[in-house]
């Protein structure tokens, strides 16, 4: 006690007061005032606020020390030591009621006084500390953000702290010793019965049991109650409990759960596989899609190492990718996994590293898709495109595409030998740069036609002449088809072009030959007619002339033979007759040969 204790002396006898003051000062205290009457005593006490009052019981004027004491005690908590003489026994009795700290019998000894004052001060301090401590506790209990209620053996509420008031809206006046208290908190009969029976079961020994109460404004709040009265009974309270308003907490919990539920549903229903692997590539989490893609159940997958699910060389790539992630970077790559049934599946993986607060690699979080079919389709498409390109680049026929403005957007290499242009020169050029104006007319009409007929029509085939780079006109046969998109809108024209120069030449030749053949046939007919005429002439000759020649020839021959039969012919006569006969035979032969057509050939 560094500070000097401050004492107020209340004594009506001046000399005693004087002595007291001296003694007190000697001891080491400070005297803050002197009073001789009760009234004065109270006044001075209030003024000076002493640490202790030395009060004479018998005082001058109205009232004695006991009265003054009482009044002072009402207003302040100051220890009072009564100064008394033995003869004041009756007064001493009365003095008890004011709870003095000590009696000091007059005349006093300094030592005694000192002891009394010290003790009184000490006690007072202790009391004050206790009061303060109690006050503190009371304030805590009264104002803490924890509900506190206590019950009597009949179940009535006897304690209802301000947190209870704040949370429920019911004041302690409304609740304390209110038989209907339970009904207020649990307006639903069934619920009330349930709570009551539950409490009866658990009695005064439970922690953190949650149930709902209805507040004054009708709202429902969830409280987490704990009752340990069994182990820690409080005298005067049959039972007591504390409660925490966890309504918001519960709502947050519910919201979190809903959110978690949503996330979990999302994770479990998404098409992409999702896995978490630790730093040793062991799977610690897999979603439903992952188990489908891998072909294992979730239970089978968890705990598997990635090396179990892929080939050795693929696993090396996985390890390489993990190395990238260990530096904190995400990675995306394609990886082939081996399904449970042994089938290899191509997947595309996006993986992010999970680092702890110290930047250490904890594992990775990966999302992946099975793109096997897509890759197969891509490969098939690419093969098909390659085949198409192979075909397009090696075919002799020109293959081309143009937009709706008749500008070429693609042409294959066949254009080079066909028309002398390079592909670069051709692409971007207009069709009308390469054909005549009549052909332009024709093309526009044809295009209108194709538009009208729409996507269902097949291509059109027609002949045209295109200009070679060197100016020459090249006969071509073109097959063209209009291209439409899915909505039936025209997007361009595509087709094939074949040089038909040879064919055209052949056609021309055939035409010429046919004409000349016809001419020839005409000539032949003419000849035939002439021959027929000739034959008719011959017929005529035969008819008219042969008879007239042969008859005389026969007669000459007959008579000559007869003459030769004569016996009186000399050699000379015979010879002459034989010559005649021979010549006649010649004539006959000549006529026969003529008739046989022998000389016709020579005539021609």
């Amino acid at each position: 006690m560094a500070k000097k204790a401050r004492i107020l002396i209340v004594e009506d006898e001046a000399i005693v007061a004087e002595d007291l003051e001296m003694a007190v000062t000697n001891i080491g205290y400070e005297v803050v005032g002197r009073a001789a009457s009760a009234k004065d005593a109270v006044k001075k006490a209030l003024e000076t606020k002493p640490d202790l009052v030395l009060m004479d019981i018998v005082l001058r004027g109205v009232g004695n020390g006991i009265d003054a004491s009482r009044e002072i005690k009402e207003k302040m908590g100051v220890p009072i030591i009564f100064l008394t003489a033995y003869s004041d026994v009756e007064l001493i009795d009365r003095a008890k009621s004011t709870e003095p700290y000590a009696y000091q019998v007059k005349p006093f000894q300094e030592r005694q006084l000192f002891a009394s004052i010290e003790m009184a001060l000490y006690k007072s301090r202790a009391e004050n500390e206790l009061i303060e401590s109690e006050e503190r506790l009371r304030l805590v209990v009264e104002n803490m953000p924890v509900m506190l209620d206590a019950f009597d053996d009949k179940g009535n509420i006897i304690v209802w702290n301000s947190e209870c008031e704040k949370v429920t809206g019911f004041s302690s006046d409304e609740m304390i010793c209110n038989h209907k208290g339970a009904k207020l908190l649990y307006p639903n009969e069934y619920y009330k019965d349930y709570i009551v029976s539950m409490l009866m079961r658990h009695g005064a020994n439970f922690r953190n049991r949650e149930w709902d109460i209805t507040c004054k404004d009708g709202s429902v709040r969830t409280i987490s109650w704990s009752n340990i009265a069994e182990k820690y009974p409080i005298p005067g309270w049959y039972s007591w409990a504390i409660g925490l308003d966890i309504t918001e907490h519960k709502q947050a919990e519910a919201a979190l759960q809903e959110s978690e539920e949503k996330h979990r549903t999302f994770v479990e229903t998404m098409d992409e596989g999702m896995v978490i692997a630790d730093e040793n590539e062991n799977l610690t989490f897999v979603n439903h899609a992952a188990s489908t893609i891998f072909g294992y159940t979730k239970e089978e997958l968890l705990g598997k190492n990635l090396s179990d699910l892929t080939t050795a060389e693929e696993f090396q790539r996985v390890v390489d990718q993990t190395a990238i992630r260990k530096t904190g970077k995400s990675s995306q790559y394609e990886s082939t996994i081996i399904r449970k049934d042994g089938a290899p599946r191509i997947t595309v993986v996006t993986a992010s590293p999970m680092m702890d607060d110290n930047g250490n690699y904890q594992g990775s979080f990966g999302v992946f898709r099975d793109i096997t079919e897509r890759k197969q389709a891509e490969n098939a498409l690419r093969e098909s495109e390659e085949k198409y390109h192979l075909l397009a680049n090696n075919t002799v026929d020109g293959i081309w595409q143009m937009n709706l403005d008749f500008e070429f957007t693609y042409v294959n290499p066949a254009i080079i030998p066909m028309l002398g242009f390079t592909q670069e020169e051709w692409v971007g050029s207009s069709l009308f740069d390469h054909c005549s104006s009549e052909d332009r007319e024709f093309t526009l009409n044809l295009t209108k036609d194709m538009l009208k007929r729409g996507p269902e029509s097949s291509g059109e085939t027609f002949e045209m002449q295109l200009l070679h780079k060197n100016g020459e006109r090249i006969d071509v046969e073109i097959t063209a088809k209009m291209l439409f998109d899915d909505e039936g809108n025209p997007v361009g024209i595509q087709g094939a072009t074949r040089a038909i120069t040879e064919r055209k030449r052949a056609e021309e030749k055939l035409k010429r030959l046919t004409l000349s053949l016809q001419e020839h046939v005409k000539e032949l007919e003419e000849s035939k007619r002439k021959i027929a005429e000739a034959y008719s002439l011959r017929e005529y000759f035969l008819k008219e002339t042969s008879h007239r020649i042969i008859t005389p020839v026969a007669i000459i021959g007959g008579y000559t033979d007869l003459l030769l039969e004569s016996s009186n012919l000399d050699d000379d006569q015979k010879q002459k007759l034989q010559i005649l006969r021979a010549k006649d035979a010649e004539i006959q032969q000549l006529v026969n040969d003529s008739l046989a057509g022998k000389y016709l050939v020579e005539e021609e």
């Binding site: 008819k543 020649i549 005389p552 020839v553 026969a554 021959g557 008579y559 033979d561 035979a585």
Partner: protein, 128 residues
């Protein structure tokens, strides 16, 4: 054998020559009737048939005045479908000959400078 032949021809020399050469044939003997045109030919044939001396062979020339060989053949055939008529002409392959054949002539014997050959043909026809 004895055969009778009717020769119908508008050339007198032919009518004279034929019997002369026929007479040279040692195997057979011939009786030769002559006619100067188709009409006379039909007349003579009819007469001889009525006398019971139907000619075994008729040699019919085609080009004759008054009546030609085709008509004469038809007329004879009409009366006697069995008449053995042969054309006696320079050349057989004319339309007229065809007509005559159609009319009923059984064949043709060609006139030629070689009467011996002609007589041989006649004999073949008669003998067959």
């Amino acid at each position: 054998m004895e055969y009778s032949i009717l020769i119908v021809d508008d050339e007198e020399a032919i009518l004279k020559l034929l019997p002369l050469f026929l007479a040279m044939n040692k195997k057979h003997t011939f009786t030769v009737y002559t006619a100067i045109n188709g009409a006379v030919g039909v007349e003579v044939y009819t007469k001889r048939v009525s006398e019971g001396k139907k000619p075994d062979l008729v040699l019919m020339d085609l080009r004759m005045p008054v009546m030609d060989g085709v008509e004469a053949t038809i007329r004879i055939m009409v009366n006697d479908p069995e008449a053995n008529i042969y054309l006696f002409t320079a050349y057989a392959k004319t339309e007229v000959e065809r007509e005559a054949h159609d009319a009923g002539a059984k064949g043709t014997i060609n006139k030629s400078a070689n009467w011996t050959k002609t007589v041989e043909e006649i004999v073949n026809v008669l003998e067959s």
